[in-house]
Amino acid sequence: MFYVSIFFQYASQYMKTRLQYRSDLVVELFSDLLFQAVNLIFILVVFGHTTLLSGWSREEIIFIYGFFLVPYAIFSSFFNIWDFNDRYIVKGEMDRVLTRPIHSLFQIIIERMELESMFGVITGLAIMFYAGSQLGLTLSWYDPFMFLLMVAGGSLIYAGIFIILASISFWSDSRTDIMPMMYNIGNYGRYPVDIYNQVIRYVLTWILPFAFVGVYPAAFFLGRDEWYFYAFLTPVMGLIFISISVFAWNEGVKRYRGAGN
């Protein structure tokens, strides 16, 4: 309960600071929308020259992309830990975080949130409904619940991977550029995995399971039963990855010595 109230206090503080530069906030929302539109335009233009992509139709690919946007929006709202090493370890901010009576990871999440990214959820849903109506998909009573489950799974996978990477900084505080690299690898999950070769497919499924943020869970809603096994694995993988990451984080915090000021 205490955690919930802290969260809302931080959120309201955050809103105040963001509304200070209102015109910039509008431009930023617009640029987010533009960013999401770019990939959509890419898909649309490409399908002007081909009818199927490894057996997936244009609307299916658009649907997968729409689904991907939702967990990605949640991830980018709450898990901006890509500069964790620089900001918290090298600059010594971690010392401040550790002296406070709430879990260090939770603090960093609420300190670094970017709530405006949540608009991606709306964009994603809009894209999915458009593609779904084109495909003639029907909603069952359990679909919304499945959707929440799949989105939670996808978000946890994204969060888990990045928290694991952030935890590495507890062991070595040298600067690595592994985070931006991961952002780029994450984009592979926006397309069906069967377009890649075996090795990449394996990596995207078991090692850096970005396929569970896009194509696998989306396959469930598209009714492609050959992928159902993977689709239902999504929440499981999410739980596994977030558990590993929290464990790694806690181990790392025990080891934290401070960078010295």
Partner: protein
């Protein structure tokens, strides 16, 4: 002039000090090129060519577009925005050089560094992994490098405009991000302009963006042939000249309304 060259040299040496950061950069670009390579493979499927580009040309196009980006890309828009916000620009304005010229030189120093230490080794790695064809015609290479110089000029001019706009907007991160997205899409980095539907191509003819990535990449992959190359280069030259006008006007009015935000 020597002052500007000195600035270029200093920036180059600064980058040299941090060169280890670039190995991961090459990897990131290779990851991106890889993603698009598989995507284009799937898009082509069984097709011989799309819009007169074969799959090998397309792969080459993707690779060279990304590696060229390392040269023309710079963050001077963000640097200018930061200097304006921190009030440093007031000091810069009383110094005995042209501030924008200096910024351009810094961008060029970075660009040259990345061309030598990033694009060249990166291209070799990409060539080992993906099927890419290099032209053995030296004149193609020459024209490509001329085109690359223009793409640097046009991109830097757009960056200067974005940076100067901070004077009027005071806070500029959103616009800078939006600009980057627009350039990635309309410059031809992600998609050759000729793939777009006709109505979109017609609109883009009147925008400077294709001078940034599409033209050098098409020259390199020999997607442009004969007179097409020269008219493309002329188009780049035209934009380089035209874009001076808004920069000059914006800069003149910006100097008059300098607000130092704190500091």
């Amino acid at each position: 002039m020597s002052m500007y060259l000195e600035m270029l040299r200093i920036r180059f040496l600064m980058m040299l000090a941090y060169r280890t950061n670039y190995y991961s950069g090459i990897l990131i670009y290779s990851i991106n090129i890889g993603a698009y390579y598989f995507l284009w493979q799937a898009i082509y499927g069984g097709q011989e060519s799309i819009q007169d580009l074969s799959i090998v040309q397309m792969t080459t196009y993707v690779a060279i577009a990304w590696m060229a980006r390392a040269f023309y890309f710079n963050n001077i828009d963000r640097e200018i925005a930061q200097e304006i916000q921190e009030g440093k620009v007031a000091v810069e304005m009383i110094r005995p050089y042209n501030y924008l010229g200096m910024k351009t030189m810094q961008g060029l120093g970075e660009g040259l560094f990345r061309l030598l230490f990033f694009s060249v080794p990166g291209m070799v790695i990409v060539w080992l992994v993906f099927p890419i064809s290099f032209s053995n015609d030296l004149s193609i290479w020459g024209l490509f490098f001329i085109s690359l110089v223009f793409s640097f000029i046009v991109n830097t001019q757009i960056n200067l405009i974005t940076g100067i706009l901070t004077f009027f907007l005071l806070y500029n991160t959103g616009l800078i991000r939006a600009k980057r997205v627009v350039i990635d899409l309309f410059s031809g980095l992600l998609l050759p302009i000729s793939f777009y539907p006709m109505w979109a191509q017609d609109i883009m003819t009147f925008l400077p963006f294709q001078a940034i990535s599409y033209i050098p990449s098409m020259i390199f992959t020999e997607g442009f042939t004969g007179s097409e190359v020269y008219s493309a280069l002329l188009l780049q030259l035209m934009w380089s000249v035209i874009l001076f006008i808004p920069i000059t006007l914006l800069w003149m009015s910006a100097r008059r309304r300098l607000i130092v935000q704190g500091g």
